[in-house]
């Protein structure tokens, strides 16, 4: 291991001595990283280099040097820590270099998580201002958007964090969530630009995050809790997989069918296409062909969205719209990956009263989890551990047949309680 370090260091050291390499460019040679640029896809290395050459920020050069070194030694050299701004307990992800003696320029490279606008609807003047502030105080690198849904401003030193935050905050931005609290919310483009949206998810996103703003900035629950708001069951935010509280638009009456458009669709593509691409793909066999026309049995429909996506002009969601709440989605942790399971099958989401009712229910759910959950336990894991019945009773949610994924298939099995 030491031998590997030494040989890897030779390349970097020569240049660290003189500050820049012999070609007169700002950056040191990084042969390993350069390999990444040779593929057919855009490379983050190209972006890094371009930014570094333009801004001449030593921090960027340091990070590239350390990464090159990392690739040689096959080790990561970032460690965490604690950096916050006044009144906040979360929102800055700290990255200190473990080998700052070798790469002093890369000593600190903290990330600021910035909350996105609901549906990612920005105006350019705000984005320009964000970029300017960031390039003034930080490295200039922005990940739009990170896995958490935040705008990730990557690369700032601890001393500059407060100043940078103050300016961002004045410009209308706020830090996102981190730690064991409410995390940054994510929503799809919603009714702003999509005809399938069954509720105003942008408004609900905003109201919910405002309601929990204290818990976003001052984490104090068992573990993280994430909201995602999808306008329809297409679930463009991946809420079922990636959020503890998946709020997904739905409807409870029949799919709206425009008969003329159905006829036009069949005329253009033929009955074969209707059978092969729509009817046969219905997972619950809710669609049948009758006298050359399609008939949807609403009772059998599970709102999978396939037919609506295949025939966007002819079919649209029903008139009686609202949300479904699914809970427990998460990636591997104590137990494996979970998808959310249905807790509230249908809830109206039309006016401020509906939003208030919804948030009161979520408050109850969180209170229950805060008391019943263990440290570092996601809400889905808590429910799995204590049982759905206990959860429903604890949080005051009504039983519903839809909460059962499938009936017990072995009637002789008797669980021990």
């Amino acid at each position: 291991m030491d031998g590997a370090n030494d040989s890897a260091m030779k390349g970097a050291c020569q240049c660290n001595g003189c500050g820049s390499d012999g070609n007169g460019t700002f950056l040191n040679p990084t042969p390993m990283l350069d390999q990444l640029e040779s593929g057919p896809w855009p490379s983050f290395i190209s972006g890094f280099k371009e930014l570094a050459e333009r801004t001449k920020k030593p921090m960027l050069r340091g990070v590239l040097d350390q990464l090159e070194y990392s690739y040689n030694t096959k080790m990561g050299y970032w460690k965490g820590g604690l950096v916050t701004v006044d009144g906040y307990g979360a929102g800055i992800i700290t990255r200190y270099s473990m080998i700052k003696d070798k790469f002093p320029e890369a000593a600190e490279f903290h990330t600021m998580r910035i909350q996105p606008a609901p549906g990612l609807h920005y105006n350019t003047s705000m984005l320009r201002e964000l970029c300017d502030i960031w390039e003034k105080h930080g490295s200039g690198i922005i990940a739009l958007h990170g896995q958490t849904g935040d705008i990730m401003l990557q690369g700032i030193e601890q001393d500059k964090v407060q100043e940078c935050f103050d300016e961002l905050n004045q410009a209308g931005w706020d830090l996102g969530g981190a730690g064991a609290g409410m995390r940054t919310g994510v929503s799809c483009i919603g009714p702003g630009r999509c005809e399938n949206a069954c509720y105003d998810n942008l408004k609900l996103h905003l109201k919910a995050l405002q309601h929990y703003v204290g818990q976003v900035h001052r984490p104090e629950w068992n573990y993280k809790l994430k909201f995602k708001f999808s306008g329809c069951p297409n679930d463009c935010t991946n809420a079922i997989m990636r959020s503890d509280l998946a709020v997904i638009g739905t409807w409870r009456d029949a799919i709206q069918v425009d008969r003329d458009e159905v006829r036009a669709w069949i005329e253009e593509r033929g009955v074969d296409a209707l059978v092969n691409n729509v009817i046969n793909h219905c997972p619950t066999k809710a669609i049948s062909l009758k006298d050359g026309d399609m008939v949807i049995e609403t009772r059998d429909c599970v709102r999978c969205m396939h037919c609506l996506n295949a025939m966007p002009k002819a079919l649209s969601p029903g008139k009686e719209r609202g949300i479904s709440l699914l809970m427990g989605g998460k990636n591997t942790l104590k137990v494996g990956v979970n998808m959310g399971s249905l807790i509230v099958p249908f809830m109206k989401m039309e006016d401020d009263d509906d939003i208030e009712t919804f948030l009161e229910m979520i408050d109850e759910i969180i209170d229950w989890w805060d008391d019943a959950g263990l440290d570092h336990e996601r809400i889905g894991e808590t429910i799995e551990r204590v049982g759905l019945k206990q959860f429903l009773e604890g949080a005051g949610i009504e039983y519903d047949i839809n909460q059962v994924t499938r009936p017990r298939d072995n009637p002789y099995f008797k669980a021990k309680y």
Binding site: G80, G81, L82, T84, V85, D86, G87, Y88, G89, A90, I93, A178, G179, A180, G214, R218, P219, E220, W221, N222, D370, D375
Partner: protein
């Protein structure tokens, strides 16, 4: 690193946390608080003592959740008020600042 009080030197780590738990006394706490721009009053002392007692019993600093609940019970607040109260006392976060002043090791993790 180290801090000097009344001619005696106390070892601290690179972030200014006391190295030896038993070095702590009220003068040290005042000095550490000064470094954090915090003027210690009764509420600050209560919390610092709570942290030290908790640490003595469990050998670990309490999670913020436990701290908030304890404050809420003691001061008859709801959890939200307790959280705001805590951050009012220690603006950079109770985990970060109160632990330092109480002479506990630097908390790990992202609180």
């Amino acid at each position: 690193m180290a801090i000097e009080i009344n001619g005696r030197s106390y070892d601290t780590d690179e972030n200014g946390y006391l190295v030896n738990l038993e070095d702590w006394n009220e003068d040290v706490a005042l000095k550490l608080a000064e470094g954090e721009d915090i003027t210690m009053d009764e509420a600050h002392w209560d919390l610092v003592k709570f942290l030290r007692n908790y640490y003595a019993e469990y050998q670990i600093a309490p999670a913020v959740k436990i701290l908030t609940k304890a404050v809420a019970t003691e001061r008859n607040m709801d959890k939200k008020e307790a959280s705001e109260f805590l951050y009012g006392l220690f603006p950079k976060g109770p985990a970060l600042q109160a632990c330092k002043i109480a002479g506990l090791p630097k908390p790990t993790g992202c609180v």
